[in-house]
């Protein structure tokens, strides 16, 4: 009999020993949020000894803890007798611990996934909950890094290197989006195509680097003139395209003329030589009869062509005709 008791004690001992040393935080709380169990993982990472932790209220020990959130989470466990989970994407940590790798780790703190478990007393009532704390810093850092890189790549694949504006591919995607939006909402937008006048001459007279400087100047001026909602891109060579959202052709003229005048007055200097530029612009307001976004581009192109033919340095509007 005595032997059996000793065996049971042995079993109990090694189980506690294991609980103390596993690399997962184990905290038990009662309904008053007093700590009833605090294992080795929690002691080591928090620097709080279990003799100081036991019976202390968790919100007193951890002043910067999100009390409202934890109570809400714990309440559902007490009430619904359900497991509850918290993941690092949702809440980076519950206990603010230092990174497990203080020297080579990049994260400032330990990212944690936590599981909340209801614990029954001898009568089957839930009077305590356990919180298991998993260190998921490496997973979190890798994933955050991957998201960042994907975002950077996305940005890169959308950007024209020289002008830092949207490139044609991405700009056209947004044009399709805008064209479809119009079909749904019937709120007009206008498309503007603009082209630098006699750009070839700039290249031939001053060299390609001067041409690049000219492109950059136009791109910068354009970017500064845009409203937040407008979407501009480099369409090709010396041609730029702009979607003026929620703007009819008449209002678009104001934008185009302002831009045209600013560029006309600007001077750029390349290798000590002054270069003066002008631009021509074509406007086409979207129309319900258009069946593809390409027809929208063609219309704006036609207006631009007319502006060029009428002596350049001006804005023309294209009127809807049956295609």
């Amino acid at each position: 009999m005595q032997l059996q008791e000793q065996d049971q004690f042995q079993d109990f001992h090694w189980m506690i020993e294991m609980l103390q040393t596993i690399d997962v935080g184990v905290v038990v709380l009662n309904k008053e949020y007093q700590i009833k169990s605090w294992n080795g993982f929690m002691e080591n990472h928090s620097g709080i000894d279990s003799k100081d932790a036991i019976d202390a209220c968790i919100f007193v020990l951890f002043k910067d803890m999100d009390e409202f959130w934890l109570r809400h989470k714990a309440d559902t466990v007490f009430k619904l007798k359900n497991h509850a989970f918290s993941i690092w994407e949702q809440h980076p940590y519950i206990f603010k611990f230092k990174n497990n790798r203080p020297i080579t780790g990049v994260a400032e703190f330990m990212y944690q996934n936590c599981t909340f478990i209801p614990i029954k007393d001898l009568r089957g009532e839930i009077d305590k909950i356990a919180i298991l704390v998993y260190d998921v810093t490496d997973t979190a850092v890798n994933k955050l890094e991957a998201i960042k890189v994907t975002e950077e790549l996305k940005q890169l694949s959308r950007t024209d290197v020289l002008t830092q504006m949207y490139n044609r591919g991405y700009w056209e995607e947004t044009l399709v989006g805008e064209f479809n939006r119009f079909a749904r909402t019937n709120r007009v937008s206008s498309l503007v195509m603009l082209d630098i006048d006699h750009f070839k001459k700039v290249n031939d007279t001053f060299g390609h680097q001067a041409g690049d400087a000219a492109l950059k100047m136009v791109a910068n001026t354009l970017t500064q003139t845009l409203r937040d909602t407008d979407i501009a891109g480099r369409y090709g060579g010396e041609e730029f395209s702009i979607i003026l959202v929620d703007t009819d052709a008449k209002s678009s003229i104001v934008f185009c003329e302002r831009l045209r005048k600013v560029i006309e007055k600007s001077e750029i200097y390349y290798a000590g030589k002054q270069i003066k530029l002008t631009i021509s612009l074509g406007i086409y307001e979207v129309h319900t009869k258009l069946s593809t976004y390409n027809q929208w581009i063609e219309g704006a192109d036609a207006a631009l062509f007319e502006a060029k033919n009428s002596g350049r340095n001006q804005t023309k509007i294209y009127k809807y005709k049956d295609h």
């Binding site: 619904l80 359900n82 509850a84």
Partner: protein, 203 residues
């Protein structure tokens, strides 16, 4: 690959009944938490080819923007995943029901999504496990995506297995624009165990 398991009409009915009880319990918890009337649908039980998984999502249109969480479960030789898919238009109503005030950003949406997922997935699994007398351990939930389209959601499913048993439960809330789909998917190698358990239940 194991031979395709066939469920008899009876077994399927029985599984449907098991899901019914489990789903009802989950709905009850949801109703209590949000203090609303939850409309109970009849769960859809289907043996599907994995390539047809999107057909299990019958209540969601391909074009809808959704957010989803999944959670693995395993125990007693039965394994699977629970998927909770939320129509993104539901969030403002859920926030209202949970008395959340303020701007609903992606983080708040995630918080709401996780809250509801905890309740529905937990209660459903508990309901199933009690009736079939099995014990499941649940893994940590994983976000499948926020603001994505339904086809993007399941394209990541690798073709490791051919068949899946899918229980689809569509929860809607009365007078509210809240629509979410809970899917319990069982792996192919769980099916024979599941079938035994159900046959036992029917005896």
């Amino acid at each position: 690959m194991t031979q395709a398991i066939k469920f008899s009409e009876d077994s399927r009915d029985c599984l449907q009944e098991v899901s019914n009880v489990a789903m009802g319990r989950a709905a009850d918890l949801l109703a209590r938490l949000l203090d609303v009337y939850v409309i109970l649908p009849i769960p859809n039980v289907n043996l599907l080819e994995i390539s047809e998984l999107h057909m299990a999502l019958s209540s969601l249109e391909d074009s809808e923007s959704v957010s989803a969480v999944c959670q693995g479960f395993i125990g007693s030789n039965i394994a699977g995943e629970a998927l909770l898919i939320f129509n993104d238009t539901s969030f403002s109503d859920i926030a209202e029901l949970t008395h959340f005030k303020g701007v609903i950003d992606k983080n708040i949406e995630l918080e709401l999504l996780m809250d509801i997922a905890n309740i529905l997935i937990g209660a459903c699994l508990q309901g199933v496990s009690e009736q079939l007398d099995v014990k499941f351990s649940q893994g940590q939930p994983v976000i499948l995506g926020q603001h994505i389209k339904v086809p993007e959601l399941i394209k990541s499913a690798k073709k490791r297995w051919k068949q899946t048993l899918a229980i689809e439960i569509n929860y809607t809330i009365e007078n509210r624009n809240i629509n979410c789909d809970l899917l319990l998917l069982f792996t192919e190698d769980s099916l024979s165990v599941l079938k035994d358990k159900i046959d036992y239940l029917m005896e």
